[in-house]
């Protein structure tokens, strides 16, 4: 019993949990330093913002786990908000506009998947092309300017601002349920195994008969669909459709995924890690703002943590590299003889 306890306690201090410790210390530090930070409504704000961000990058996590990348998510989210705003502005009902927005954005996801699967694009290039297309479509819809809405649908208001029992934000519950479902899919089904197999060795997974193309198609569509949903929720925050989300969604989203890759499964993107990464980023930027520290110190800290994190991964895996190196040296020595 005691042995079990100590082993689980020591586990808490392994590199897998360092980010959690940093997050914990950061929250404690900010709460002590700033009385505004620990006010319940500010904490709710943090929860709301991190839920939207986490929603945006859930699909991206799995795409990165398969060794591909998707940089379309900020532009897809902006496009979704523009399409919805355009629909509502022209007198369609909210349900129809939201549905059309999600469908249209999923088409962009389908296009990325198509380019990667059919034409063997590198996913970085395919998604650069698709994201530029999505951005310009968003601009064209509003002829280069945002679409302002007078009224936001009560359903979307309820999703964003609603609280279950007046305490727990509805959005957070929704996102947590989604993430739990995703982590069950990732940890207890074949799909999860396939994802990491593809990330490890694409040739081997192809030979093993993993339906790579289907998986990639569905991942890109999933990523675009979730990003578009997050974009529609942003509509309620800005009460307008924005063709270009000002702010650092691009860097923040990728940082959440890559920082998340340091938690729980060392070196592999996983949904729980991404969730923690998203919270981490929002806590950092919120706390810095409340302490009157300019936001760009946040950029520096995030960049620094990412580099340190990747280095930690590399060092823990360096035994692997060392073994390869000695083998290679032996080969060279043998060839020399």
């Amino acid at each position: 019993m005691i042995k079990k306890l100590t082993s689980s306690l020591t586990k808490l201090f392994t590199p897998e949990y360092v980010l959690l410790w940093i997050l914990f210390l950061m929250i404690v530090g900010f709460s002590i330093a700033s009385p505004v930070f620990r006010r319940p409504d500010n904490l709710m704000d943090i929860v709301r913002a991190s839920a939207t961000n986490a929603l945006m990058v859930l699909g991206l996590t799995w795409i990165v786990a398969t060794g591909e990348i998707d940089i379309t998510f900020p532009d897809i989210a902006a496009l979704a908000s523009m399409v919805t705003a355009y629909g509502v502005f022209n007198g369609w009902s909210w349900g129809v506009s939201v549905l059309i927005a999600i469908l249209a954005c999923s088409l962009y996801g389908l296009l990325s998947g198509f380019l990667v699967n059919k034409f063997l694009f590198r996913s970085l290039i395919a998604t650069i092309g698709v994201s530029v297309l999505a951005k310009s479509t968003a601009y064209i819809i509003g002829s280069g300017s945002p679409i302002y809405l007078l009224k936001i649908s009560p359903t979307i208001q309820a999703i964003v601002y609603g609280k279950i029992g007046g305490v727990v934000p509805f959005l957070m519950v929704l996102v947590i349920v989604l993430y739990i479902l995703a982590s069950i899919l990732q940890n207890y089904t074949k799909l999860g195994q396939y994802l990491y197999a593809m990330g490890e060795n694409r040739k081997a997974s192809f030979e093993a008969g993993i339906p790579e193309k289907t998986i990639l198609y569905s991942l890109f569509i999933l990523s675009a669909g979730l990003a578009s949903f997050a974009g529609i929720l942003q509509l309620a925050l800005y009460s307008s459709g924005q063709p270009n989300f000002q702010g650092s969604y691009f860097v923040d989203g990728l940082t959440a995924v890559f920082l998340g890759a340091l938690v729980i499964k060392l070196g592999k993107p996983n949904v729980i890690g991404t969730f923690i990464g998203a919270i981490f980023i929002i806590v950092l930027s919120n706390g810095l703002t409340l302490l009157n520290i300019p936001f760009f110190y946040g950029l520096i800290i995030k960049g620094f943590l990412m580099i340190v994190g990747v280095t930690v991964i590399a060092l823990t895996k360096s035994q692997f590299y060392a073994s390869i190196k000695t083998r290679r040296l032996r080969q060279v020595a043998a060839a020399g003889d």
Binding site: L120, V132, L133, I300, I301, G303, M306, V310, A314
Partner: protein, 331 residues
């Protein structure tokens, strides 16, 4: 036809198709907008070309060694702000300030190279991390505000507006850098080294090529050229801006990959042609009074279409060879 000649035909057919498309586009523009084919306008297009194409040239080296660099645009913001800081706030003359800026860019390129080449860290994550770090540092100089004091009097504007024998300076930078890069990458053994690191790393190790140094050199070249580009942009705009360099990211990637789709591998000339196509189209659409956001559409469509076309051709070529090659292409 001999086998060699057949190979020659296959390799050049995409180049010929691309040049036809380029000439066709230019013909359409000169038909729609009469002022398109004037010397003044072409010089303006070339000046614009010098901005995207120099960043793309640096990126070409990184792609040649088989890596990706997402940081060059962010690093160029840092370099541009460093230069603006020395000119505007410290009050140095332009040339030493430019050297300080380039040094700043070079240091971040070196860090990228060390992390990717020496420590074998994943390039995408590291370059985004270092990029975000550098961008944050760029804000420190003036708390994110524009720097424009001293700009008019220090003579930095000359670096963008000056002319030599009637040719604007940026056009001269453009051609001199491209010629040097062409000679380096395609006419020396070092160029072969870059390509061998990218195509078969294990073979490169065993033929005694120092892989790390090539990777570091590629990242340093990428960040330094992007920094230089941002200097030219800063000089043209007359102020230092923390977000000025971000516009480089997507067009540079697009130019490199249009080049790859033409020549089937990253080359200096291919990158030039890709950047040239994008610049000409931007210039033409501006003359036609198209709104600014059309440009994104053009970059995206051109990138996707050029690669799709090249892949169709490529797949046919593979089918003729052997089933094993088809498998390798699929994997």
């Amino acid at each position: 036809m001999s086998k060699r000649a057949k190979q020659f035909n296959r390799d050049w057919i995409s180049v010929i198709i691309f040049l036809c498309i380029l000439v066709g586009i230019m013909a359409i523009f000169s038909f729609l907008a009469p002022q398109f084919m004037t010397a003044n306008n072409l010089l303006r297009a070339l000046k614009h070309l010098s901005v995207t194409s120099l960043a793309a040239l640096g990126l070409t080296f990184v792609v040649v060694v088989g890596h990706s660099d997402m940081s060059f645009a962010f690093v160029s913001c840092f370099a541009g702000m460093t230069m603006s800081y020395f000119i505007g706030i410290v009050g140095w003359p332009p040339v030493p300030s430019i050297i300080m800026g380039l040094l700043g860019g070079m240091i971040f390129g070196f860090l990228n190279g060390i992390a990717v080449g020496r420590f074998k860290l994943p390039d995408m994550i590291v370059t985004i991390g270092i990029g975000s770090f550098a961008w944050g540092l760029a804000y420190l100089y003036n708390k994110g505000n524009y720097i424009y004091t001293n700009f008019l009097t220090s003579g930095i504007i000359k670096f963008s507006d000056g002319r030599l024998l009637g040719i604007p300076f940026p056009v001269i930078y453009l051609f001199s850098f491209y010629i040097v890069a062409y000679l380096l990458l395609h006419r020396t053994k070092y160029g072969r080294g870059f390509y061998s690191v990218g195509s078969n790393r294990i073979a490169a190790v065993f033929s005694g090529i120092k892989i790390e140094r090539y990777i570091i050199a590629a990242f340093v070249i990428s960040c330094t050229l992007a920094s230089f580009t941002n200097m030219v942009m800063t000089a043209a705009q007359g102020n230092g801006n923390v977000k000025g360099g971000l516009v480089l990211l997507l067009p540079a990637w697009a130019a490199v990959f249009i080049g790859i789709s033409v020549f089937k591998k990253p080359t200096v000339i291919g990158t030039f042609l890709g950047a040239f196509l994008l610049s000409i189209m931007q210039n033409g659409f501006t003359l036609l009074n198209a709104p600014f956001y059309i440009m994104d559409l053009i970059v995206g469509l051109t990138l996707i279409l050029s690669i799709v076309i090249s892949r169709i051709e490529f797949r046919k070529k593979v089918k003729e060879v052997s089933p094993i090659d088809t498998f390798q292409a699929a994997a």
